[in-house]
């Protein structure tokens, strides 16, 4: 049961701290998002720069880069996903434990970016896995990546624990495993996961 915001502030002034389980739970989750140590291309260098002294990602509780997908909460798809690499990215995503989030960092991860017309370039990682935050840029500046983290934190904060819109990891019927595409004779098979992505309608 939600408590009125004004009452909560008033109680806080009196030294009574009131919260909901949902708030506490989400606060804990959003304050320790551990990304996977996983760099694909140019954007990975900006990702490293973000964790270094100047931009200091540690302020957001996200400086612990885990090399193993089992220990990570967040996959930052930092760079061009090629068709040769896409099966591995999906497999890594499948190996991550719930709750898990994905940031598509940079133009390439979003849509293929400047390399979109390449024969070996996947036109956006959201064709195979669900993406929570997109940050444009080629590469995005470290500030942009921090912005993505803050957006993700806001998103986690707003996730209800029950009801229709509850996150995937609290929903027993939700899809947990995403099909891994197979490299075939000329292209990846299937070229996209219809359960995750369908071509947007271009309005001209």
């Amino acid at each position: 049961m939600a408590i009125e915001e004004n009452l909560k502030i008033e109680l806080g002034k009196q030294g009574v701290f009131v919260t909901t389980l949902e708030e506490l739970y989400n606060w804990g989750r959003r304050s320790s998002i551990w990304p996977m140590q996983f760099g694909l291309a140019c954007c990975a260098i900006e990702m490293i720069a973000t964790t270094m002294a100047r931009y200091d990602l540690a302020r957001f509780g996200a400086e612990v880069f885990r090399p193993s997908p089992r220990q990570a909460d967040l996959m930052i798809v930092s760079g061009t996903v090629t068709k040769k690499m896409a099966p591995q990215v999906v497999r890594l995503y499948n190996q991550m434990a719930e709750p898990r989030y994905v940031i598509a960092m940079g133009a390439c991860a979003i849509s293929g970016g400047p390399f979109k017309q390449g024969y070996n370039v996947l036109k956006g990682i959201d064709r195979y896995i669900p993406v929570d935050v997109h940050i444009p840029g080629c590469p995005p500046r470290p500030e942009a990546l921090i912005q993505a983290f803050m957006t993700l934190q806001k998103k986690i904060d707003e996730q209800p624990l029950t009801g229709e819109n509850r996150p995937r990891f609290l929903n027993q019927n939700a899809q947990g495993e995403f099909p891994v595409p197979e490299p075939a004779d000329h292209d990846l098979e299937p070229p996209s996961n219809p359960g995750v992505w369908s071509a947007p309608v271009v309005i001209r």
């Binding site: 291309a41 270094m52 690499m85 390399f115 070996n120």
Partner: protein, 390 residues
Amino acid sequence: MSIAETKTEKLDGWNRPPTMEPEGEGELLEIAMGPHHPSTHGVFRMDVTLDGERVMRLKPVFGYLHRNHEKIAEGAAYLASMPYTDRLDYFCSLSNNWAYALAVEKLVGQAVPERAQYIRVILAELTRIQNHASSIGFLIQEMGASGTPLMYAFREREKILDLFESLTGSRMMCNYMRFGGCRVDVSAAWLASARKVVAGLPAFVDEFEALLTTNEILMARCQGVGVLKPDLAVNASVTGPLLRASGVNYDIRKVDRYGIYDRFKFRVPLGDHGDVYDRYMVRVLEMRESIRILEQALPEIPAGPIMDPKAKIRGFRPKPGEAYGRIEAPKGELGFYLISDGSPNPYRYRVRPPSLINLTILEDMCLGQNVADVVLIFGSVDIVLGEVDR
């Protein structure tokens, strides 16, 4: 033993790395390191066969970042490929710009004004310093010094990136050079801040060296590991600091004297043993020589135009022919080979990637070493996957 004594007579047997015989009767273990591995600098895979801790066989697997740079460039106008060259070796976009501009300038016989030449040298040497600093940082990180040396390197790198950003508008993807000059002029204020950054660099290298050069762990891990003999290095087309660490005196800045490198006094550091430690040392010394070049170039930069007034910008169609232009990029010889058929697009556009070719002898260097040293030897090659796979 100095490397001069190990001169091998027979070259023809060298097209394959030697076959290793397992010791004892243990089972061989095959592991795939990568493409997701924290020490592979990106998406690179090594299929390693191990006998206990010893490496028996190592096969690199590429292509996880093959993003069709050459094919896209063949469908685009000459200048349209300039931003793509930034994304080859994304640590050194300005060196890549220069190599491509140089190749096209050779193709059309384009002169470059004095001031632009100076700007190019200054930017290329700044790029070299930040590349070597970060590459040493990554090397030490792979040795287990998680974070600290890399933080020192990136602290300095940020200062240099600030210079790039204020001049070109982007931290990493500078897209700055043009055929026959540069895109924007440097201001007096920029030169002043560049001088300030350069004045602080020797102290940084001293600090870096004080932490690392005589560090006991670093010496124990690096000395005598991953030895590369000079004649094999030459035969395998290895270039850059990796070649010079093996004692071969070949620096394209000295050999080709491209740009205006003949005006500056600098030395070419050479290694004596060809091991990981020598590669580290050569990079540190190259940073010092780059600082020396910068100290000479920054005060004497002349006034004048930054673009050749005769340079053709619109309707750029080189006459049929071909050209191969190369520079000494921080990773090695970066070359561009262009074939023109008279149309606005190159008929053939080929990048000679130093990172890929330097990996030719990765297996030879790793055979018989411990598996923990593989990441170290691999780190000492200093590759960037954007350039390996293009």
